[in-house]
Amino acid sequence: MSSISINNITKTYEKGKVLALDNISLEVKSGELFGLIGPDGAGKTTLFRILTTLLVADKGQATVAGLDVVKNLWDIRKIVGYMPGKFSLYQDLSIEENLNFFATVFNTTVEENFHLIEDIYVQIEPFKKRLAGKLSGGMKQKLALCCALIHQPKVLFLDEPTTGVDPVSRKEFWDMLDRLKERGITILVSTPYMDEASRCDRIALIQKGKILDIDTLENIISKNTQLLLAVKGEERFRLLNDIRAYEDTLTCFAFGEENHVVLKSGTEKVDFLSKYLADKKHKGVEIKPIEPNIEDTFIKLMLESENAQ
């Protein structure tokens, strides 16, 4: 059964001048932890706002828990939890006051649904008298999640919850989402960090208002059959430029200390590349075939989508 269903949604801003979402379709199953992965400006926030009834699409339909986002606006507002991209709680209210306030706004009490937030709340409880504006990024995030959960929503929308948070808090946050998933809450989460894709059941890669692919991380990567080489050397910048200038090079991008290279001829002519680099007097060159990761795949899909236009 699908919990979120999006059919051919298109949304523009400024009277049609800016295309934010271009004919998007997507299904999220009940109880799924679904990741919407793409850079800033891809249209993630617009999609979230349409699903949470804050914006109305130009074209297409969408339902959340079987309810139409336009016709059943008030019913949807009762059953969804939403954490906007920007920290959106009252900075001049304490943790406790924020939580109580939002519980009341959603016609419930903290006690009633405490079981849902308990294991998150205990982490911030020692600071419950502290004003929200004075909390660290990680703590703000936990508080925002508690507030979004307090009315026991059926579907949880988290818009870039891990942006601007350090790796430790990010990991803790994803661990919390795993536990919420076990309780049967459907979660749609967006992130610009490709590495977080591995924490989702399924992901949609989104770029410039278009969905590049929807599947499990493994399937998306396994569809990428490009033969990829990792090339390392001492003079990083010269190496990068020389590989790009090489006639057989299709793409070459820096990946940390390595360069990920796709040759037009696949892996057959690796020896030619290493000879070419030796001729250019590169030292310490190492070339090895590697499995593509999510970023390689995203780049490939991005390029394909751009070429298709």
Partner: protein
């Protein structure tokens, strides 16, 4: 030339009352090096960077940037560094060209060479007609590239980058790092503060701050080997778990 030391600190400490924001940190960064300065929120990164930019005086210890002392020669330091942050970089309601002219003027580039430099830059970034559009209307990736170019327009010895590439698509991010490599190949030292560990992988060398002190320093590959993990996230997680303070 590669061996010239551009940033030097020795037992650098900064207190705010009883709170020791930066605790005895010592490191050297060479000319043209890309140095990653990592740490969780509140680990002391920002304070240390403010000291190095000449905006804040240390409580004790030694520090010099581009050969100038942070205690006495703040003004000279400011002339010899560039700065770019994701939060503040360009004026959104000025055009690209106006931004370049403005920031070039601030750094005392004379009008004639500023004009030449600005045309060069617009060409190099292949901005074309976009150069006369308001910065606010450009995509994030472009803004980042332009603001980096503006930050190094006056040929500083060091450029400080504060979380420069958060939130952009993988291709744009790599184009950005291409620019950083190019600057570094020209001999500009690049000092990157960030808590995005995948940015750290691109640095020549990184230091990781925990509770105001430097907990680890080295090449990303060495650190990964030392901590027996396959990415910088893993290194960071192991170090930061022991952290006592959060913001």
């Amino acid at each position: 030339m590669m061996s010239e030391i551009v940033i030097h600190t020795e037992n650098l400490t900064r207190r705010f009352g009883d709170f020791v924001a930066v605790k005895n940190i010592s490191f050297d960064v060479k000319a043209g090096e890309i140095f990653g300065f990592l740490g969780a929120n509140g680990a002391g990164k920002t304070t240390a960077m403010k000291i190095l930019c000449g905006l804040l005086s240390p409580t004790s210890g030694v520090a010099s940037v581009a050969g100038f002392d942070v205690y006495k020669e703040n003004e000279q330091i400011k002339e010899n560094i560039g700065y770019m942050s994701q939060k503040f970089s360009l004026y959104e309601n000025l055009t690209v060209r106006e931004n370049i002219t403005f920031f070039g003027g601030i750094y005392g580039i004379d009008r004639k060479s500023l004009k030449i430099k600005s045309e060069e830059l617009i060409q190099r970034l292949s901005l074309g007609s976009e150069a006369d559009k308001l910065v606010g209307s450009l995509p994030l990736g472009w803004k980042q590239k332009i603001s980096f170019s503006v930050a190094i327009l006056h040929n500083p010895k060091v450029v400080f980058l504060d979380e420069p590439t958060g939130g952009v698509d993988p291709i744009t991010r790599r184009q950005f790092w291409d620019m950083i490599y190019e600057a570094s190949a020209k001999g500009i030292t690049v000092f990157v503060t960030t808590h995005y560990m995948d940015e750290a992988e691109y640095c020549d060398r990184v230091s990781i701050m925990v509770d105001g002190a430097i907990a680890a320093m080295g090449k990303p590959s060495e650190l990964k080997k030392q901590f027996e993990v396959d990415n910088m996230d893993g290194v960071f997680l192991q170090l930061a778990r022991g952290a006592k303070r959060s913001e």
